[in-house]
Symmetry: C2
Subunit: 297 residues, 2 copies
Amino acid sequence: MQLAIIGTIAFDTLKTPFGARADCLGGTATYASTAAAFFTKPGIVSVVGSDFPQEHVRYLESKADLAGLQRAKAKTFRWSGEYAYDMNEAKTLDTQLNALLEFSGAVPEAFRSAPFVFLGNTAPALQLRALKQFDAPRFVLLDTMNHWIENERDALLKAIAAVDGFICNEWEARQLFDTPNLVQAAKAAQKLGPSLVIIKKGEHGALVFHEGVFAAPGYPLETVVDPTGSGDTFAGGLMGFLASVGAPAPKAVRQGVVYGSILASYNAEGFGLERLRTVTGADVTARYAAFQKLVEF
Amino acid sequence: MQLAIIGTIAFDTLKTPFGARADCLGGTATYASTAAAFFTKPGIVSVVGSDFPQEHVRYLESKADLAGLQRAKAKTFRWSGEYAYDMNEAKTLDTQLNALLEFSGAVPEAFRSAPFVFLGNTAPALQLRALKQFDAPRFVLLDTMNHWIENERDALLKAIAAVDGFICNEWEARQLFDTPNLVQAAKAAQKLGPSLVIIKKGEHGALVFHEGVFAAPGYPLETVVDPTGSGDTFAGGLMGFLASVGAPAPKAVRQGVVYGSILASYNAEGFGLERLRTVTGADVTARYAAFQKLVEF
């Protein structure tokens, strides 16, 4: 296995100006592995509860190796969020950690030699505990969120120092490094250790700092139905592509970022996984060509 | 003359986290003509007051034809603004219209055959009055601001319908067309008439709708000292380039947008005109190459 993904599996209840859905299959590992599976079959390290239906297990099995999927006694983690008119950020309405409280982060024997590891957003201590179980990964990407910046800052900085790539959104970058300037924030992050720093800017794309700067555009969507999971889809697409290429060379990173952006843009066109799970290789190829036209001058 | 610029000339008093300056030479026509002069010598249609010093006249004469510069009895237009920590938008502290109240918008005979016209942000009725004096311009670009969207909406929509290109920032686009989605806003603008719609997104670059979409990145600056005039610099650079090329073909528009972005990025590196007026052709060429590296994948 080339890529291990450590992250949540959730039931999401979503509300946007375009409608609502209850109890969708979601979570970091779900979105990231769906995206990564376009390029490689990843392994998932995650936890689900006693209420997790076989139908969802079958879906995840079609995308990933589930040897690292822990079964908890509690119910599956639940998240509920609502997007306002501008679709920029979800307002969390409810979080029920449930099974996450039992999550050991144990990496199965068969995953430990994976050269690529994605540490999805969770407690920095748990990210480090998972990371230590890998033999000698070639490239580790770590994601985080404002909650850990505010409550586990020191642990988070330690975790960032232990990885090769750090990804967060623009507001998190500004908050973590106490500067409004994204170039300064990225340089501060690189000083901690990672050679790759990706700052996601939602509809405005991403800034990628890695031997020079790559300004990845956002794909101009006329209709954004539900952005839930787009960040994880982006990271999963990038890591899946890198794992399939085998090395995180600068050019591969840029191409992987574009693939991640493409999958994230499709993901936002439907509720939950509805659109992403129907995307074909031909769709990805078509939008890759569109991205090239989008930036040429 | 290939390009006429209709816009204000001002004394700006600026405050940013990096310092302050009083009574800088500023205004739309000043920034736009300084940028355009990299490619062509534009003509300025504007107004200054009785207090406007000869030193500033000499500066503007070095960039533009001043046959359309009206001298008012009142003092020169004054604007005072302050930028907070994030440098995103100026808070206007004071506006003294002064000479602007006497501005006739009269276009001198020698300017009327100009094929390219930039109608800088001002009252839509005045923009239309100025436009009607031109013989048959090949390409007219119109800028606006939230004030006119809120107070002169119908007149503004009429003015937009009369031009070839419309430029505004992302918040103005959302406000004017009552949608959070920039693609929808651009389509609505194009429906009114303009074949070119440019939505400026500050540090995130610009979206350019014109036979396809061009996502121009913002140049990742580590230090933004003062963004005053960057929008006018962008438009002036674009229009100067198009005027020098002679036709607004899609490829020329994209290249002009990049030149405008380059000049705007230099402009933000210093207070008022301080940095922009020292930029050389070699600086522009260097950053053009950097823009190419910024987007290649």
